[in-house]
């Protein structure tokens, strides 16, 4: 085979691999992702669908419940109606009232039930601007 042709074949193979990877990437990312919502949008959400909820924990609402905890969250700007949440599993160190959290879970009977090990609490001290302090 002449080298010119060989190079062309190589290029085609490389490009089609890249295209395949890209298509797989795009397809799986849209099917595997979970929608991000704020608590007020979740109040009337359909039960059973998995969402990634981002909100602010209401101060003083955290209670121990069986093996886990129960608390309420509001939208990040502090507004909206509070959404009750239950969560079982490890609680990150920075978790407490007033903090922003990200939690994956679904609505069950009006309560947002978090999946274990998905609770993320934002660490408040780094790079906060004056208004956040």
């Amino acid at each position: 085979m002449d080298p010119q042709r060989k190079r062309k074949i190589r290029l085609v193979v490389a490009l089609s691999t890249a295209v395949l990877l890209a298509v797989a990437l795009i397809y799986t990312s849209f099917s595997a992702s979970t929608e991000a919502k704020e608590p007020s949008e979740l109040l009337g959400a359909a039960p059973g669908t998995s969402y990634e909820m981002t909100g602010r924990v209401v101060k003083g609402s955290i209670q121990r419940e069986g093996n886990g905890i129960a608390f309420r969250v509001v939208d990040r700007d502090g507004g909206g109606q509070a959404l009750p949440v239950t969560y079982t599993g490890a609680v990150p160190d920075p978790f407490r009232g007033g903090r922003e959290i990200v939690l994956t879970g679904a609505i069950e009977q009006g309560t947002f039930v978090g999946e274990p090990e998905t609770l993320i609490t934002k660490c408040p001290s780094k790079f906060t601007t004056k208004s956040d302090v």
Binding site: P3, R7, A14, A18, L21, L25, I26, T28, S29, F30, A32, S33, T34, E35, A36, E52, T54, R64, N67, G89, A90, V91, P92, D93, P94, R96, V102, T104, E117, T118, I120, T121, K122, C123, P124, S125, K126, F127, T128, T129, K130, S131, D132, V133
Partner: protein, 820 residues
């Protein structure tokens, strides 16, 4: 002091602009202007250093008139953390960026002060442009002035200097947090140097390997720092955050991993350009990509566009950095496109079975991995763009792609060192591949027969290929040392040391490979075969996790001025024998600078886990505790109520309490007595706090323990350290050049590179990778090229801009690789 700092910062900004302008003015080779420009860069470095010193002195001296000190430190902050508190702030981290950049630019210009005359002015302009950008941000962007002053309203309405600061978040008070950010920044920033020289090379069309030779060390230093920063971050997460993991595919982690991956690709592909003159477009694009990723990392932490565990205040500097990334990307792309004709290489890859083609595959894998991570990281924005809904991708999605890519990388890490440059004959391939392939097969059989590695086929594949790669690398050291021993007659160990120190780049690189493969083994084992259990135990109870009996022996309590610590002593038994004790605890911090008049305030601040860790070569036992402090908090409320009653003088309260109330009332309006009374109360309160905390010991409450048995995770850290050691060996200047090691003329550099190539070929031949005929061919070609270089150095035709000083000597036979 702060106005002095502001003035110095302003001067630094002007110095950066001046240095860049002088360099451009002298770009036609005006020696005086270029020297002046270089010295101005040193001056910029001095000014920024002075700014850093002023800030650090303010931190050490508790000068709360500095806003940055007031917001990130306090009198009680331990002094080591006072030093580190600078970079926990937005403005301090920008100052750190500028500081590291000023050091890196000065070092780069010092090292190239006698070479690359045509290219250096442009590189200087790029570096100083970036420096002026970051210095300018601190001066002109709102809210990021490191020298802003803090005031507070006094009772009489006057503004006064605060007397104490807010303090450093206890979560950040961890040894690795002190050095993690500066390591990451050094990594990000040092990539500016190769980027700037690449731009210089493109502008001046000096597109041989000179700019690469001049900046290879900086790329390697950047890579090593970034790697160390990632490792320290992982370690911090593992031992401090109480969730038991070291990597979460969090956007900010990804932002640091992406430039590291691209930097890895760059370090490999520049070798192909150095040796074979190929991949020029690729290398230029890679360094542009790497630098943009480094800027992107800086941007992400400050922008608030993505949800992350790392807090992003939405703030003011994000858009500016995004603008800089845009300028870098558009400008560099235009430059590369306009130079495409000059970038075309006359040479082609000879054979698919050659080291350069393995490098190309490894590059594609690394870039592919970066593309996957980039897509996943920015998916929330992409999805919002197309569907209008923000949606995010979790760890399993990332794992699905990065796992096979990482395994393929290990495969090619194994193959690469076994192949010679240019071509490999079938005979020599059979010779060098035999032992590693046998090793892989043996390890696979052993793992399948004796362990449950078949539960996770990805991990099994990784272990098998890791065995292949490690054996191949060991064989490289072995046969190289054997060849050297034959020639020099040195004993084995000495031959090995001589081999490595004589060929630092090559064997340092191999040591990095060993480290990375070991690290991947640690990651694969600990992520695939981890036992993770949450158990609730009362004192005296025990549980069995993965064959170990864990007994909650007793609770522990400690109280001091800043925190409550509730913990436990756990006894670990294996096969009925006590092997040790583990002491996890949880600390509750009192917020500083706020009303701390009640015991309850201890529970209003941060809480941190102190993980009980029992590391071992085979398993880590990792235990974090969530104590049930409901009982204690009840006691705290009661005690606080009692104190309130006391101070108000409610009838029926105990006599010492009544006295306290009297003191309080009597001291109103008398500052000295008031202070005395407050001290009295604080003393009584701390006694009460201790008393209440001890309630935890009696409460018999069940604590929740998170128990993780992590196999081989120790090897992750060991592998990282091995890789770092390898990088240091590769960085260390070669023997005989140690004095002024980084400074030499262009002709020297070219000569040395050619000698190294000849030595490499000799080594490949001696270790059986290059057949006799191939070696004869390659060797004669290389020697011809070497003589051409030496001749050129004599009459000055081949070094267009170097001064060729001291190179008029006759061609000298390059030293044999095996002789020292």
């Amino acid at each position: 002091m702060s106005s002095l700092g502001s003035a110095l910062l302003g001067l630094a900004f002007l110095a950066a602009l001046a240095a860049g302008a002088l360099a451009l003015a002298g770009r036609k080779g005006d020696e005086r202007l270029l020297t002046l420009s270089r010295r101005t860069v040193y001056g910029f470095c001095g000014l920024i250093t002075a700014c850093v010193v002023i800030i650090e002195l303010a931190f050490i001296g508790d000068d709360f008139s500095f806003q940055i000190v007031q917001e990130h430190s306090s009198i009680e902050t331990p002094s080591g953390y006072k030093l580190a508190a600078m970079w926990s702030s937005q403005e301090g981290s920008l100052l750190l960026w500028a500081f590291v950049l000023s050091l890196a630019s000065s070092a780069a210009l010092w090292a190239t002060r006698r070479r690359l005359r045509d290219l250096v002015p442009w590189a200087t302009a790029v570096m100083m442009g970036v420096a002026a950008f970051f210095t300018g941000l601190m001066l002109f962007a709102p809210d990021v002035d490191p020298f802003a002053t803090a005031t507070m309203q006094a009772a009489n309405g006057m503004s006064v200097t605060p007397t104490d600061g807010v303090g450093l978040n206890p979560l950040l008070q961890h040894p690795s947090m002190m050095i993690h950010p500066p390591m990451l920044y050094s990594g990000y920033v040092a990539f500016t140097v190769p980027f700037a020289f690449a731009i210089g090379a493109l502008v001046t069309r000096r597109l041989d390997a000179e700019w690469i030779r001049a900046t290879r060390r900086f790329a390697l230093i950047a890579w090593a720092f970034l790697g160390l920063g990632l490792l320290l971050g992982a370690r911090w997460s593992y031992t401090e955050l109480g969730w038991g993991g070291y990597w979460a595919w969090d956007p900010v982690e990804n932002a640091a991993l992406m430039p590291w991956l691209l930097g890895t690709a760059f370090l490999h592909s520049i070798m192909v350009q150095e040796k074979r003159g190929m991949l020029k477009v690729w290398n230029a694009s890679l360094i542009v990509g790497t630098f943009s990723m480094a800027l992107l990392g800086t941007f992400l932490v400050r922008s608030g566009v993505l949800q992350s565990i790392h807090a992003f205040g939405d703030n003011t500097v994000g858009p500016y950095i995004l603008g800089l990334i845009g300028v870098v990307l558009v400008g560099s792309t235009a430059l590369i496109v306009s130079r495409l004709d000059d970038l075309r290489s006359p040479k082609r890859i000879d054979s698919l079975a050659s080291r350069e083609s393995v490098f190309l595959v490894n590059n594609l894998l690394l870039v592919g991995m970066t593309a996957v991570i980039f897509w996943g990281t920015f998916f929330p924005l992409i999805s919002e763009l197309f569907t209008g809904e923000k949606a995010s991708l979790a760890a399993p999605w990332f794992d699905r792609y990065t796992t096979p890519l990482a395994i393929l990388l290990v495969v090619f890490t194994g193959i690469g060192p076994l192949l010679a440059w240019r071509r490999v004959s079938w005979e020599s391939a059979k010779r060098v591949f035999r032992v590693p392939l046998i090793a892989a097969a043996v390890v696979t059989v052993i793992l399948v027969a004796f362990t449950d590695a078949t539960d996770n086929l990805w991990a099994l594949a990784l272990f098998a290929f890791a065995a292949f790669a490690l054996t191949g690398l060991a064989q490289e050291f072995w046969s190289g040392a054997a060849a050297r021993r034959q020639l020099t007659g040195e004993p084995g160990a000495q031959a090995l040391v001589g081999l490595v120190s004589r060929n630092r780049r090559r064997y340092g690189g191999y040591i990095v490979h060993v480290g990375i493969v070991v690290l991947l083994i640690g990651i694969a084992a600990s992520s695939s075969f981890q036992t993770n259990r949450d158990v609730e135990l009362r004192p005296g109870e025990s549980t069995v996790v993965d064959g170990r009996t864990i007994t909650y022996v007793k609770p522990t309590v400690a109280v001091d001025a800043e925190k409550f610590t509730f913990g436990s002593v756990l006894r670990i038994e294996e096969d009925g024998e006590v092997v040790g004790f583990v002491r996890p605890s949880r600390r509750f911090f009192r917020p500083t600078g706020q009303d701390s008049g009640t015991i309850g305030s201890f529970f209003a601040g941060e809480a941190t886990s102190e993980v009980g860790l029992r590391p071992g070569p085979w398993h880590d036992l990792w235990i974090a505790e969530q104590p049930n402090i409901a009982e204690v908090q009840r006691g705290v409320r009661q005690a606080d109520k009692g104190f309130q009653a006391c101070i108000r003088g409610v009838p029926g309260s105990p006599p010492e309490c009544k006295a306290l109330g009297l003191i309080m009332r009597a001291s109103v309006g008398n500052p000295r007595r008031e202070a005395q009374a407050l001290a009295q109360i604080a003393k009584l309160q701390s006694l009460a706090a201790e008393d209440v905390a001890e309630g935890f010991l009696r409460s018999d409450a069940a604590s929740t323990f998170k128990v993780i048995v992590n196999p081989l995770v120790t090897w992750m850290w060991i592998g990282g350290l091995i890789a770092l050691a390898g990088a240091l060996i590769a960085l260390w200047p070669a023997r005989g050049r140690r004095r002024g090691a980084l400074v030499h003329t262009e002709a020297d550099a070219r000569k040395e590179a050619k000698y190294r190539e000849i030595r490499d070929a000799e080594l490949d031949h001696a270790t059986g990778k290059l057949s006799d005929e191939d070696f004869a061919l390659v060797d004669s070609e290389l020697r011809r090229e070497a003589i051409e270089i030496l001749d050129g150095a004599g009459n000055g035709s081949a070094n267009a801009s170097g001064n060729g000083n001291g190179n008029g000597a006759r061609p000298r036979e390059p030293e044999k690789a095996e002789r020292s």
